[in-house]
């Protein structure tokens, strides 16, 4: 069965590109959970908003100038999407979570669920519930090699996603381990109270976490908009749950964990739909989430926290 190799190669590529998107969103969950121990249920919607703002900007830039060079349109869309989505990330935290700091565990979680429903319908109100299609700005493949008669290819947009995810992940890990704000984040994730006592403005650190999460989700949203070519107000929901699964699989709270978790989930899902009937793909993904949380809630790279009595 030597022709199995190219099929596997293609499926691995599919899995990597899918996993990179999950990783980009998973970062938002991991950082927020790592620092204030809360699942930002509305994070999937922040990703969706990033995609919408990206498409609006592309359409505006595309329409306005017509012959604007591709690189400019793309970078313009990324910048504007990042700025606006970061503003959403900051506002969601400021409005829905900051007033609830210190209240019992269920309260911020329910507020997050409410915010997720609100954002979904807010965008639906503004842009309608229908699918918005994105013109293929970057058609064509990065490479298309013929392995024993089977075309193995990686499209430009998917290559861009994998590359962007790697670059952002490395940059973020360096920033967190090197910079002052990075140190403050790590301090807060160890012990928020003590960090506050030592003069760290914890509110600023928390806002920073949400903004960084939103920025990465925005990049993910714009790139997905380009590569998949179809967005609607509901794409954030399932993508959000899958990204959370990736974050937990990798070990919630650990940034490399989010990357590892994302890729693993992407590969699992891809091989599930390759070898099982495709409709069971999501069942496998959700099943994986339930299994991880049961047998290894701290994930692969996470740090176990002993339940203090």
């Amino acid at each position: 069965m030597n022709d199995l190799l190219p099929v596997l190669a293609q499926q691995v590529i599919n899995g990597l590109s899918l996993g990179s998107i999950y990783a980009l969103i998973a970062i938002g969950y991991t950082m927020v959970y790592g620092i204030i121990g809360m699942i930002n249920f509305a994070h999937g919607e922040i990703y969706m908003i990033g995609a919408y703002v990206g498409v609006v900007t592309i359409t505006a830039l595309g329409a306005a100038s017509g012959a604007m060079p591709l690189a400019l349109v793309l970078s313009g869309a990324l910048i504007i999407a990042v700025v606006v989505t970061a503003a959403y990330g900051w506002t969601v935290e400021r409005v829905a979570y900051r007033p609830l700091r210190g209240s019992p565990r269920l309260v911020p979680l329910i507020s997050a669920i409410g915010m997720s429903i609100f954002l979904q319908n807010y965008v639906q109100l503004g842009q309608g519930a229908r699918d918005i299609s994105v013109p293929p700005l970057l058609p064509g493949n990065l490479f298309e090699i013929d392995v024993e008669g089977f075309p193995v290819s990686l499209s430009l947009t998917r290559a861009l996603i994998i590359f962007a995810t790697l670059a952002l992940m490395i940059a973020l890990t360096l920033y967190i381990s090197r910079s002052r704000m990075g140190r403050a984040c790590r301090a807060c994730s160890q012990d928020m109270g003590m960090a506050n006592l030592l003069g760290i403005d914890t509110n600023r650190v928390i806002s920073f976490t949400f903004v960084v999460g939103a920025i990465l989700a925005a990049v993910g949203g714009v790139l997905i908009g380009l590569s998949i070519g179809k967005i609607n107000p509901f794409i954030g929901f399932v993508a959000g749950i899958k990204a959370f699964t990736a974050a937990v699989l990798g070990g919630i709270g650990s940034i490399p964990g989010a990357m590892l978790g994302g890729v693993l989930l992407g590969l699992t899902e891809t091989f599930a739909s390759a070898f099982l009937p495709t409709e069971y793909k999501d069942v496998v993904a959700f099943g994986l989430l339930v299994l991880i949380l049961l047998f290894r809630p701290t994930g692969l790279l996470g740090t176990p926290d002993v339940e203090k009595v």
């Binding site: 699942i39 503003a87 409410g114 997720s116 429903i117 309608g128 069942v283 959700f286 989430l289």
Partner: protein, 415 residues
């Protein structure tokens, strides 16, 4: 008067937020996607935020809602009248279907179904403090159990109702076991995953559940053996033939309403008793502090499983009734949004407060029906209300109050 600076900052932020999403409207026509710019909504939003910041509305609104009177159910005056109040409400509920219009009765039946779901989820979230986001799964199990039993074995509604409740309770325990050791938010996500898995299985298992086509031709409940349809099934007699009156589908609507009312009364009766029993107190103790429970000899596993099983059982009953009322069910009506709506009901009503949950269920189901054109904004308002409630009134509209227990006088006490 908050400083002008913050008001301007807030207004600017609102502009940045709303411009791309509300200001520019994406329109797809055929090949090209174009932008229709309409700055009105952006202008209104910016103005609103500016004024709100200027008058520091947020703090004022917060104060007002705080001051809302909390009717403490156990205050002496109220409890004496509780029997009277219950009687009045019950009589009104019984008369209602015969005087109200058909549409109103149908909406009321729909609302009563959500009252049952709300009361059931209130056990899990309100009393035991376990945030279950997959509650719709038990609703689906109840509905499909009745649908399948009635289709394959022709069992009547009244036989399948308890079976549906039992099946759902079993699934409740199945879900309960794996999540025993998990904390609040992990538990929420696992139950969410579980809910989605159930829906996907229902949608994919074509041989049993006919997948997306769902199950059609589900029999309506019979009233004392009399069928509610226009034409009797072989061997059965219909209500109107029995009474020799011309067929009017209003009878079916009224009968369904009364069955729903019966189920709600049954649910309320059982839950009210359970809460005053050791198991009910154990639920609340678990919510308060699981470690303390363990140190006093209460087995947290049994407490959690009993909460899940009972919450699921009532969802199962509601599901079986829903299937009998609609006559046809598909996996599409058991999505996560249902779980979120029932959670919103419990949260809005006041976690752990039965009266609050009932009021919230009526409010959140009747209001959107009242203004059908308004229903587009229904989910938007749900989400917003959930956020605002958590900020201003986490205890809910009608918060539960502790029952007063009269202590026997000192002489009777002996040890």
């Amino acid at each position: 008067m908050k400083s002008l600076k913050t008001a301007c900052m807030a207004a600017l932020l609102t502009a940045v937020l709303t411009l791309p999403l509300l200001g520019a409207h994406l329109v797809v026509n055929g090949l090209s996607t174009t932008l229709v710019v309409n700055l009105w909504p952006v202008g209104i939003a910016v103005l609103l935020v500016f004024v709100a910041q200027l008058l520091d509305l947020k703090a004022r609104l917060g104060a007002i809602t705080q001051a809302l009177p909390t009717v403490s159910l156990s205050s002496a005056s109220f409890s004496r009248h509780i029997r009277l109040w219950l009687a009045v409400v019950l009589v009104a509920a019984l008369i209602f279907p015969f005087v109200a219009s058909r549409g109103a009765v149908d909406v009321a039946t729909y609302a009563l179904t959500y009252v049952m779901l709300g009361l059931g989820l209130n056990i899990v979230v309100g009393f035991a403090g376990l945030l279950d986001l997959g509650y719709v799964a038990f609703y689906a199990v109840g509905a499909y159990s009745y649908a399948l039993l009635s289709q394959y074995f022709g069992l009547s509604f009244w036989v399948c109702l308890p079976i549906g409740g039992l099946f759902a309770a079993t699934f409740g325990i199945l879900l309960g076991f794996p999540v025993l050791r998990l904390r609040g938010d992990y538990l929420a996500i696992v139950t969410l995953g579980f809910g989605e898995i159930i829906r996907l299985v229902l949608n994919n298992w074509d041989s049993l559940t006919h997948g997306p086509d769902g199950i059609n031709g589900i029999a309506r409940p019979t009233v004392f053996g009399l069928e509610l349809n226009r034409r009797a099934s072989p061997g059965g007699t219909t209500l109107h033939e029995f009474f020799g009156i011309p067929f009017d589908s209003l009878y079916a609507v009224i009968a369904l309403y009364l069955i729903a009312l019966l189920l709600v009364i049954l649910t309320l009766f059982i839950i009210n008793r359970l809460v005053r029993m050791p198991v009910g107190r154990a639920w609340e103790a678990l919510r308060e502090d699981e470690i303390a429970c363990r140190s006093l000899g209460l087995n947290p596993t049994l407490i959690k499983l009993s909460a899940f099983a009972l919450g699921a059982c009532f969802a199962g009953l509601a599901g079986a009734f829903y299937a009998s009322r609609l006559g046809t069910i598909t996996p599409e009506s058991f999505t996560f949004i249902e779980s979120a709506v029932v959670l919103a009901i419990v949260v809005l009503g006041g976690m752990g407060s039965q009266i609050g949950v009932i009021l919230a269920a009526l409010l959140l189901t009747v209001l959107p029906e009242l203004a059908r054109s308004f229903s587009e904004y229904r989910m938007l308002i749900f989400g917003l209300v959930m956020v605002l409630m958590m900020i201003w009134r986490p205890q809910g509209l009608m918060p539960a109050t502790r029952p007063r227990l009269e202590l026997p006088t000192a002489e009777e006490a002996h040890q």
